[in-house]
């Protein structure tokens, strides 16, 4: 595993930025093709029976609590900033 990550760390700059560009391109294309800022930010009265989409798991503000708790812990350990999305936390002597 360490060899693998070591390899990534030393050889990934080019592929990393390529991958990043690809991801951004996919997202930008999807946004352009399927939606606009106007769609996102338009206000409308949503009746209870019109909330089928909003009830989906993937439309919840936190749709994977386990993943969020893991990410919060990783970034709490590796960066100076923490919090924002909730007040629940757990201290650690992380290195």
């Amino acid at each position: 595993m360490s060899n693998f990550t070591g390899w990534i760390a030393h050889t990934s700059s080019a592929s990393y930025s390529r991958f990043g560009r690809t991801v951004v391109l996919i997202m930008a294309t999807s946004l352009t093709a399927c939606s606009t800022a106007g769609d996102i930010l338009s206000f409308s009265d949503v009746r209870p029976w019109e909330r089928g989409t909003l009830a989906r798991d993937d439309m919840q503000l936190v749709n994977d609590a386990l993943e969020q708790s893991v990410d919060d812990h990783i970034y709490f350990s590796k960066e100076a900033s923490t919090g924002g999305s909730s007040v629940q936390g757990g201290g650690c002597g992380c290195n």
């Binding site: 990534i8 990934s12 939606s35 798991d57 503000l61 924002g84 007040v87 002597g93 290195n95």
Partner: protein
């Protein structure tokens, strides 16, 4: 007539969808267990973490109870803050979770090795006080060989009459105890490591408060805005971190223990948008956080997840996270020395070379695959690559590979 039938059909489907109120779901599958295994591996034999998590939830007509367990095993090497040197004369006493401190090689003490285990247990309870008001409260304890943490939290959420807007408030209190695993003490901040005087264990209390509002903007979009403030008092130094006093050629003359202020005020503004793309089942999660504290650290965090449905049962989710922070006002790579080779000590007594307090940029790229194995079993697999670049820290780069697999079962 046809449109009326369609409308009723959508309404019924909405109630039966997985996002339906707990009462509707509880009648069908009251139990849910979500388990996960995560591997975090830094490059160059730095930190390795194996994390196992399990959340067990029981939903009822009036709320839900969740018990969460976390087990971490951590090992590897972490930068101490000391300058890399082959002719260091410093001696060290301990490292996190280790009975002793081992030098990297040839007298280079810039990395400390450690081996530790952490266990965390938590309980969260959610109760509907009325159709529009939900109370949540809980607590968590965490224990490792050099750190103990206990926390409680309470939150209240209230929807408006049209159920389009939800106001939230939250309060949390955490108390931490910090000490060196080998000796059970903390070093005197800013003391010379060769003339150190041990202090008792460090204590720190933290209060976090949050005010938030979420709003349904339209049939496909939800927005959230949170303002949070955190105040902590007590021991904020890191008992394992050190800072070198060195000349212009980086020859180390002495090493001093990390010393930070005994209080910290953090504020953050967090916004999030969840949107389903038009005429599709693909969705977007976009968030931004502005963070500032009274150690002069300011940071910006942008996070974007795009879920691309591959079919009814599975999806791909690329993820990008970008982060940038300024350095803490007392962060220094090293203490300079005067003409007589005496260390120039900070006027306020605070200095740290902890790489996490340096100015940095951090980026994460990831990809998740999700599969609904059966209507009640979800599988998620993800891989993420974290890359951090520091402005002046002795180790200017850190990168890590994160692999996680999770299974959620409802029954």
């Amino acid at each position: 007539m046809s449109s009326l039938r369609q409308g009723l059909s959508v309404a019924v489907c909405t109630l039966l969808a997985s996002g339906a109120p707990p009462a509707a779901r509880a009648a069908v599958t009251p139990w849910e267990v979500d388990t996960s295994y995560l591997s975090y591996q830094e490059a160059n034999d730095r930190v390795t973490v194996s994390k196992t998590l399990a959340n067990l939830t029981r939903s009822s007509d009036t709320g839900a109870v969740t018990v969460g367990l976390v087990h971490d095993t951590m090992s590897g090497a972490s930068p101490t803050g000391a300058i890399r040197s082959s002719d260091s004369v410093a001696t060290y006493t301990s490292a996190s979770g280790s009975s002793g401190f081992s030098a990297g090689n040839g007298g280079d003490y810039s990395l400390s090795t450690f081996d530790d285990t952490r266990i965390q247990a938590g309980l969260d309870i959610e109760r509907e006080l009325s159709r529009r008001t939900t109370l949540s409260y809980g607590g968590a304890v965490s224990n490792e060989s050099d750190y103990e943490s206990m926390g409680v939290n309470v939150g209240l959420a209230r929807e408006t009459g049209d159920r389009l807007t939800t106001f939230e408030s939250g309060l949390a209190f955490t108390t931490d105890t910090i000490y060196r695993s080998a000796s059970g003490d903390t070093p005197e901040p800013m003391s010379n490591m060769q003339q150190q005087r041990p202090y008792s264990e460090g204590k720190r209390n933290t209060v976090d408060a949050l005010l938030g509002v979420s709003r349904v903007l339209n049939r496909q979009t939800v927005a959230q805005l949170n303002l949070s403030v955190g105040v902590s008092r007590g021991y904020h130094s890191d008992p394992y971190k050190i800072i070198s006093a060195a000349d212009d050629d980086d020859r180390i003359l002495a090493n001093f223990h990390d010393s930070r202020p005994d209080a910290r005020l953090r504020t953050s503004l967090y916004g999030k948008l969840v949107h389903q793309l038009q005429n599709s089942e693909h969705s977007l999660h976009l968030s931004y956080r502005l963070y500032q504290d009274d150690w002069a650290i300011q940071s910006h965090t942008a996070d974007l997840r795009y879920r691309h449905q591959l079919g009814k049962r599975h999806y791909l989710e690329p993820h990008v996270r970008l982060y940038r922070q300024s350095k803490a006002e007392f962060y220094q790579r090293k203490l300079a020395v005067d003409e007589g080779l005496n260390p120039i000590m900070p006027d306020d007594g605070f200095a740290s070379a902890d790489y996490r307090l340096d100015a940095m940029t951090s980026s994460t790229l990831g990809l998740k695959y999700g599969l609904k194995v059966t209507p009640d079993i979800d599988l998620r697999l993800r891989a993420e690559f974290l890359d951090q670049n520091f402005s002046t820290a002795e180790y200017s780069r850190n990168s890590a590979l994160i692999l996680q697999s999770s299974v959620k079962v409802r029954f």
